[in-house]
């Protein structure tokens, strides 16, 4: 069964902590509950997006630097 990590804020989604850094998680990586999987930038401040369950990253539903809205599913965890 898979679950989705939902955006809690509107803004811009990033998969990396900074432009040159590697992504927090790739598809196939193991995640534990509470792990950071991305950032949402809202009004020039950055907020961490954390996994709500443990499992494996199945898919990213938006790409890095894409605009997201609250309630929008961003990551699928299996």
């Amino acid at each position: 069964m898979s679950t989705q990590i939902i955006a809690h804020l509107p803004g811009t989604f990033y998969r990396t902590p900074s432009p040159d850094a590697p992504a927090y998680k790739e598809v196939g990586d193991a995640v534990s509950e509470g792990d950071v999987v991305g950032l949402i930038e809202v009004m020039k401040s950055f907020h961490e997006l954390r996994a709500n369950v443990s499992g494996t990253v199945k898919a990213f539903l938006v790409s890095s630097e894409e605009a997201v809205m609250p309630g929008q599913p961003l990551v699928e965890i299996e």
Binding site: L9, P10, T12, E41, V42, M43, K44, E65, A67
Partner: protein
Amino acid sequence: MVCSIKKLLIANRGEIAVRIIRAARELGIQTVQVYSDADVESLAVRMADEAVNIGPAQAQKSYLSADAILSAAKECGADAIHPGYGFFAENADFADAVVGAGMVFVGPSGNTIRMMGDKVGGRNAARMAGVPIVPGSDGRIGDLIEAERVAEEIGFPLMIKASAGGGGRGIRVVSNMDAFREQAHQASAEAQAAFGDGGLYIERFIEKSRHVEVQIMGDGENVVHFYERECSMQRRRQKVWEEAPATMLPGDVREKLCKSAVDLAAQVFYKGAGTVEFLYDSNTHEYFFIEMNTRIQVEHPVTEMITGVDLVREMILIAGGEKISVSQSDIPCTGHAIEVRLNAEDPAKQFLPWPGQISEMRVPGGAGIRFDAMIYPGYVIPPFYDSLLGKLIVWDKDRSAAIARLERALAELSIGGVKSTQPLFEALAKDRNVREGEFDTRWLEVWLEDNQSSLAEEQEKGAA
């Protein structure tokens, strides 16, 4: 008034774009508003004569794309570009590119922006104009004997920093020569061990510093000042509450301070609107130059309220080739003005950003009230830019009357649908220290820590 500029492109967004459109319209100038995909519904787009889309929501691909802005300007036949504040306002290369494309840049020349934007360049210009700068060592001091001599010159309290360190780490504040000898020796030894360089940097430490800045305007030949503003109330180095004039300054200091700002601007044949920022030491009544901002600033309305001069109009006219329309002796300073910045943030929750839809709004009115904003009922605040929704500015005959008027205006103001910093200002206006004018640049951070829970309670009550 007729201006040589016929069509002005506004290379910015939000409340300052609205402000510039208003000034241009009064001068009979056509306005062109550039906008990103996220700003289609903005007030500035609705108000301008024309609007041109310049790209996606990310500022890097729209408001910070010189190519996109310049081609928009050419396409619509604009003959001038106003950068507002932020984005390209202090970008020397952009200013050069605008002029290179045969248009007028509403601001100083690229060279002036380049020189004043550089910390060393700014300090040198100040030194040459005889403007006091924060006493400190001229760069790295190698040995401790020289350090003692320099410390003697600078005076106490002072700050010791390892010149190889950085990011504010390892700063020591000492208040006398004995402490200095001990701490300087330790700092040097530690820096030697950590970085292989024991060099030190020392600077006067200002315990109770207040941020005072002077608004100036130059036309390339003449420079006048429009008195000073006090912006000591800051959070994370962002100003939140600004006043004009700075009532804690003794009269003679104030006169010298304003003259210093004019001297500095005259030294560089300044053209346009600018602000010379100073730190004022309220213990010793000394002031020191920090930096110059070569643009119009967020807090310019408080100066307009006490002088009656439209600064944005003036800067457009100067860019169009006019001389400054007022002489120094004709610029009055009347009453007291206060501006508070309304940000879409929840002050009760560590200023969490709060974009969303404005459900309803009631704007305060009456004598001495001004509301410079970018919002209207139904408008959805995009999450991609800074959180400034607007500014509430009040004026009255003196500071205490202005605070009373601010309280009245805040009580009238209602912005529905989003959280804003309004409750913060309601609390600050009641605070004894604020009322007595007793604060410095570090005061608000401490106040916020002490008042976090009461702000949260107020927010709850407001919601209920």
